[in-house]
């Protein structure tokens, strides 16, 4: 297992270097002088310009700049936001828990609904419920989630008034952010109603973000189950008189899990991309909204750092998913 792990990690190194080149190259491909670009509309005195040029090192050879960038990266230095003047690295990790909280709730919802939906569909293949579930799943899969979010706001916040429109918690509550996860923080704050408010704020964004992964998981579970249900050992189990449900849960489901785990792992990228739209619609203060805001404010160090960190996280999660297969299916380790 350890050897497998080392092999997988060593495969990631060239990809990671590629990611750093993309993030590093990003600011340098931008048309125009990067220093003037970062200074914005206000303009610069020649002395200040000279100072900034030296500070960023744009007057040195490009490979020297790149190694300098890598060296700083290794020390967790990703530069400072032009707007807030905070280090990009620490800003990212202040906002990251909000995105993680949303993403975890969304993926849990997607798994809890998607798995049973796929299993029911597969076990009643061709029935009305199969067609209804798969039809709904295809609509979910085709959904423009930014529109879906607006629609839910119209119905549940506008017409029914059940849920708030934006943010993570009502402004009435204030407490220390110990963990960064609003659900946990509001629970331990012991304030009346704080937890309820956090939950209410979380419902709509979770539904919106979960929609596409939910549809994908349901479709994938169905097709994986159908493939397994046609295998000889499943037929044998049925033939020796085991009940349908026992065969499905004990014999088929475990083997159908491998492609489903893949899909769940691949959803992490989808979730982070979806978070960009979901967080923008619901003003959710996570990294998705942070990236969009930074792009429109031309806060390039933030865009650069965020890009790198998000790609690195996706990469690590995919590695973890690969390791999970190694555990579920030992044969993969030796390929």
């Amino acid at each position: 297992m350890f050897g497998y792990f080392i092999r997988r990690v060593s495969l990631l190194i060239p990809t990671f270097l590629g990611i750093t080149i993309v993030a590093f190259g990003f600011v340098r491909i931008l048309p125009g002088d990067p220093v003037l670009l970062m200074a914005g509309e206000r303009g610069l005195t020649p002395e200040r310009y000279e100072k900034l040029l030296n500070e960023f090192g744009y007057n040195r050879p490009i490979w020297e700049q790149y190694f300098d960038y890598l060296w700083k990266l290794l020390h967790g230095d990703m530069g400072y936001s032009l707007v807030t003047k905070q280090p990009v690295f620490s800003e990212f990790f202040t906002l990251f828990p909000a995105t993680v909280e949303l993403a975890i709730c969304a993926i849990l919802l997607a798994i809890l609904l998607g798995l049973p939906a796929g299993i029911i569909s597969a076990s009643k293949r061709g029935s009305f419920s199969d067609q209804a579930i798969m039809g709904t799943a295809l609509v979910g899969y085709s959904m423009p989630i930014f529109w879906w979010g607006l629609l839910l706001i119209i119905v549940f916040s506008g017409w029914l008034g059940w849920t708030p429109v934006s943010g993570r918690i009502s402004l009435m509550y204030y407490f220390e952010q110990n963990t960064g996860f609003m659900l946990i923080d509001s629970l331990i704050s012991n304030q009346q109603g704080a937890f309820g408010s956090a939950v209410k704020h979380l419902i709509l964004p979770t539904v919106v973000l979960a929609t596409i992964p939910l549809a994908v998981i349901a479709r994938q579970t169905r097709s994986a189950m159908l493939e397994i249900l046609g295998e000889d050992y499943v037929r044998t189990a049925r033939a020796k008189g085991l009940s349908v449900w026992r065969v499905i849960y004990i014999h088929a489901l475990r083997n159908a899990m491998i492609p489903v785990v893949t899909v769940i792992g691949l959803s992490v990228g989808t979730l982070l991309a979806g978070a960009i739209l979901t967080e923008t619609i619901f003003s959710w203060p996570g990294i998705g909204k942070w990236m969009v805001d930074s792009i429109s404010r031309r806060d390039y160090p933030v865009v650069q750092g965020g890009l790198l960190l998000i790609a690195a996280i996706v990469m690590v999660v995919n590695l973890l998913v690969d390791m999970t297969y190694g555990i579920i299916n030992p044969r993969i380790r030796y390929e």
Binding site: W147, I154, A273, L277
Partner: protein
């Protein structure tokens, strides 16, 4: 089968027949999927509407009627038959904008998929055929592109290139392309060791001829399926970029851009928000339905015997 050796001209009608039969078989499996057929009809309808937009649209998509701001659809008590689906905040007819919007979305899908397929299939062919260092370089670059969430990478690329529809399309094509590279490479590697390729090589076919005439036609099935799926994700991503203000710019009647403009009226005028999104959903759904049917008809693994 032992058929007498025929000369080249006599083989022609035979292969034509085979092609017809393949096409008929394809249609048989495709039309078995009811959803796919419905998707095809909806898609054809949208294509016709898009082409005939100047003829079917009741108004110009950019003309502002100053006496009709935020008019509700015709069936509403305050609506009028002049504006069937109402008007937006500056008095433009929504139905006309939606009809012209079909042009943009279908063109975006077509353009992006064409670009991604041409570059992706070419790179995939090269990587799978030559292997070695070329393969390693191409595939590592594709791995890097795939490491980023697609919308994020498109967003950042548009930030570099500057907002606008063309730049958004280029960015989306670059993001979608690795899928075609991987797919083509995998099927090329699968096909390259087959006997018919070896015999063509022995017969003296050049590498280019082998790639273009011998291997490529046999790898196209999965590429077509992936192309259909990419068509719908291109439309979705372009609409998302438009919604974030980085795709098509303001007066353009692109559906995502229309949604972005309508956002502030979301609780006052439901029609300006719901209708453009509904069009995106219907278009994407129709294409995905077709894609499912295509996959069933072209994927031999799932084909029922």
């Amino acid at each position: 089968m032992l058929t007498p050796i025929q000369n080249h001209t006599e083989i022609q009608p035979e292969s034509q027949n085979v092609r017809m039969q393949l096409l008929r078989e394809f249609w048989f499996y495709f039309s078995e999927n009811r959803g796919a057929v419905i998707g095809l009809w909806v898609f054809l309808f949208l294509v016709i509407v898009a082409i005939a937009a100047p003829l079917v649209a009741p108004h110009s998509p950019v003309e502002q009627y100053r006496d009709a701001f935020l008019k509700p659809p015709a069936w509403d008590a305050e609506g009028s038959w002049q504006f069937l689906l109402g008007t937006d905040a500056v008095g433009r007819d929504i139905l006309s904008r939606l009809i012209y919007g079909a042009r943009f979305s279908l063109f975006i899908g077509f353009f992006v998929v064409t670009m991604a397929v041409i570059s992706g299939v070419t790179l995939g062919l090269i990587a799978g055929f030559f292997r070695g260092a070329v393969d390693v370089v191409i595939m590592r670059i594709m791995d890097v592109v795939l490491a980023f969430p697609s919308l994020l990478l498109a967003l950042v690329m548009v930030a570099i290139l500057g907002p606008g529809l063309l730049n958004a399309m280029i960015a989306i094509a670059i993001v979608l392309q690795p899928h075609f590279v991987r797919l083509t490479r995998a099927s090329v590697m699968n096909e390259a060791s087959r006997d018919y390729v070896t015999s063509a090589r022995v017969a003296g076919a050049s590498p280019f001829y082998l790639m273009r005439h011998t291997i490529l036609p046999n790898c196209l099935g999965p590429v077509i399926v992936q192309g259909t799926l990419s068509f719908s994700s291109a439309i979705l991503d372009a609409a998302a970029l438009g919604f974030l203000g980085l795709g098509a710019q303001a007066p353009t009647p692109e559906w995502g851009t229309m949604l972005a403009e309508a956002r502030e009226f979301i609780l006052r005028a439901w029609w300006v928000v719901t209708l453009p999104g509904l069009m995106i959903l219907i278009t994407v759904l129709a294409i995905n339905l077709m894609g499912d049917g295509l996959r069933d008809a072209l994927d031999p693994k799932l084909k029922r015997s």
